[in-house]
């Protein structure tokens, strides 16, 4: 695919939010399914070489998606996404938290509220995700953890990166 798709990534430290906007070359119902059906989510949600593995999915208000990020060495990090509000093909609001294999939420780890808005962008679809953190420290911690995964993603650059420290 050679066309340029809109992508915007803004960290707002005064509002404790991360705003992520991305355009996708598909219609709204298709993109909606990609974000709300676990069999499709598992195909893309975790960046390589990590994989997403769903334990259970109940996409309705009050329901949960319980899944693991599985690393290249089989290590598992469990997450729980709890759906608060759903307007089909328009938006959903969810709480995102880390947890364990039994679905218990880890209160020590940062939690965030996600609002996902879906809108038409000519024949494409724009998804505007807003991650709202309770405080700046939780936002920073999330970014720091992202760095850890980023390191694993960029295995080939690992030595060079470590040398720089």
């Amino acid at each position: 695919m050679s066309m340029t798709l809109f992508f915007d990534f803004i960290v707002d430290k005064t509002e404790n939010t991360i705003n992520i906007k991305r355009e996708f070359a598909a219609d709204r119902p298709t993109v909606w399914d990609c974000y709300t059906k676990s069999e499709i989510l598992d195909q893309w949600w975790m960046p390589m070489p990590w994989k997403s593995k769903t334990k259970s999915m109940d996409f309705r208000e009050g329901g949960q998606w319980h899944y693991a990020a599985v690393g290249p060495n089989g290590e598992e990090h469990w997450s729980i996404t709890s759906y608060v509000k759903i307007e089909p093909q328009k938006m959903f609001l969810a709480n995102d938290a880390f947890g364990d294999v039994d679905g218990n939420i880890n209160q020590q780890m940062p939690q965030s509220k996600w609002t996902m808005n879906f809108s038409d962008m000519e024949q494409n679809t724009l998804v505007h995700g807003i991650m709202q953190f309770t405080d700046l420290a939780q936002l920073e911690q999330t970014i720091a953890m992202g760095f850890k995964e980023g390191l694993i993603m960029a295995m080939e650059n690992l030595d060079a990166m470590l040398a720089k420290r």
């Binding site: 990534f9 960290v11 991305r22 070359a25 499709i40 195909q43 911690q141 760095f147």
Partner: protein
């Protein structure tokens, strides 16, 4: 180690101190005056910032001036860039899924 930096800059007063020091090296007394804080409170913040190397002390005569360490701030930017990359990778994977779905529909 790494986490400390984020905790250090999570505090609004410490962020304000950093912003000020980035423009001009300051003595603890000058900081206390600018922020209308006690010397004791300023010392606490300095300790945290210095421990994660965001600022560096430099003796000048009888006074200690604190300097900003831009290298450490760059590290934070690097983390942010990595976080952004994860989302890019994720979205590129979704592009692939979407194009597969499209082909199946045809």
């Amino acid at each position: 180690m790494k986490q400390d930096i984020f905790q250090a800059i999570a505090d609004p007063t410490r962020r304000a101190i950093l912003t000020l020091i980035a423009i001009q090296a300051l003595t603890p007394n000058a900081m206390a005056e600018k922020f209308d804080m006690s010397r004791q409170a300023v010392s606490k913040h300095i300790k945290v910032l210095q421990e994660c190397e965001l600022i560096k002390p430099e003796q000048s005569g009888r006074e200690i001036y604190y300097h900003f360490n831009p290298k450490k701030m760059q590290e934070i930017d690097t983390w942010l860039a990595q976080f952004r990359k994860i989302w890019e990778a994720r979205f590129n994977q979704l592009d692939n899924v979407l194009s597969t779905i499209k082909k199946q529909k045809k």
